[in-house]
Symmetry: C2
Subunit: 206 residues, 2 copies
């Protein structure tokens, strides 16, 4: 699914009217509402009201609120996992692969801000959320393994634990969901460059 | 107020019983509950139940739920603002001051995880929350001004905008609330060292 900005969907939603939503649009608008008021605090009635649909029309597309959540989380996680399968992430030195993984992760976040935002707020209150946390943990472990490989090759400092380094760098990347807006002044590739530069080389001049 | 871990307060709360809470303890336990289930989703009845107090006993100490929120946010913001007033943050080269500010900010976060966690989740749904967002923004601007001073002095790279650099580095610092636990393996000073090292010099060896 493509990731609309909040401004795009809230401007478009009232005009679109009742009929003609496809599954992807229902998912998009639902994710927007989950991010606005929290998944737990959002009822199926709230979703139906935002969409201008009856609950039964909504249930025609999705079995439950949790199914919407599960598909949204899968959108974010599938894209993040895909980063680790890209050719640039699987060939070259560990430092080159790490550079590629960080750069692509920034692109995934900026392209899929709504579903990644939802993912990063998951606390494990339902089976779908716990499954998502497990997949996030597995992703982190694969990145940590790559950081450790780069440490063993002498390409990444080994005076800081690889898992801590991974958490800090992804802390920086994940902070995008708090402040980055794709419609703003910084484009996605510039942002990826800035983040990878700070993560690899730091802010200090030499 | 001192910042209890989740384990400490949940173990201690039932044993403490009804009487004898002071204001600071009520605030601590309220912040813990706000962080668990969200401020908006937490009622005064929920707070009274967690504390084992009647609502009127709770109102003896605090006028409203929003007063609890305002005092908790002030705890976090006051400590962060204090970082910028410390001698190490106001004397020396811009690079030395920046180093000191980042290091002290990490210490504030690790010492006050509960109230800073609450602060970082604020979305601006009430006057107290909007006032807190304004103070956070003013803090960010003062740090950005320091980053720009360090850029002008040639000590921090100027190929990345100073405001973006500040956001990225604080994204890394703020991520602590998601994964750092003071009872874990990494102590606070080690953590401050690791974060400042990555922020200033990056993960790559030279």
């Amino acid at each position: 699914m493509s990731a609309p900005t909040a401004a795009e969907t809230s401007a478009a939603a009232p005009r679109r009217g009742r009929p003609g939503y496809d599954r992807a649009q229902i998912l998009e608008i639902s994710v927007e509402l989950f991010n606005e008021q929290g998944y737990d605090a959002t009822s199926v009635s709230d979703l139906a009201a935002r969409l201008g649909l009856t609950k039964s029309a909504l249930y025609h597309h999705f079995d439950s609120k949790e199914q919407l959540l599960a598909e949204a989380l899968d959108d974010a996680l599938g894209a993040l996992e895909g980063v680790l399968e890209e050719p640039a992430a699987t060939t070259g030195s560990p430092a080159e692969r790490l550079d590629a993984v960080l750069r692509s992760a920034v692109r995934v976040l900026s392209d899929r801000l709504p579903t990644v935002t939802l993912l990063l707020r998951v606390r494990g209150n339902s089976p779908s959320e716990r499954a998502a946390l497990d997949r996030r943990r597995a992703f982190d472990q694969r990145v940590t393994a790559l950081v450790r490989e780069a440490q063993d090759a002498g390409l990444v400092r080994d005076d800081i634990d690889g898992a801590v380094t991974t958490r800090l760098v992804f802390g920086m990347i994940n902070s995008l969901v708090e402040w980055y807006r794709p419609t703003g002044q910084i484009d996605r590739d510039r942002l990826a460059h800035d983040i990878v530069t700070i993560a690899l080389d730091g802010m200090r001049t030499r």
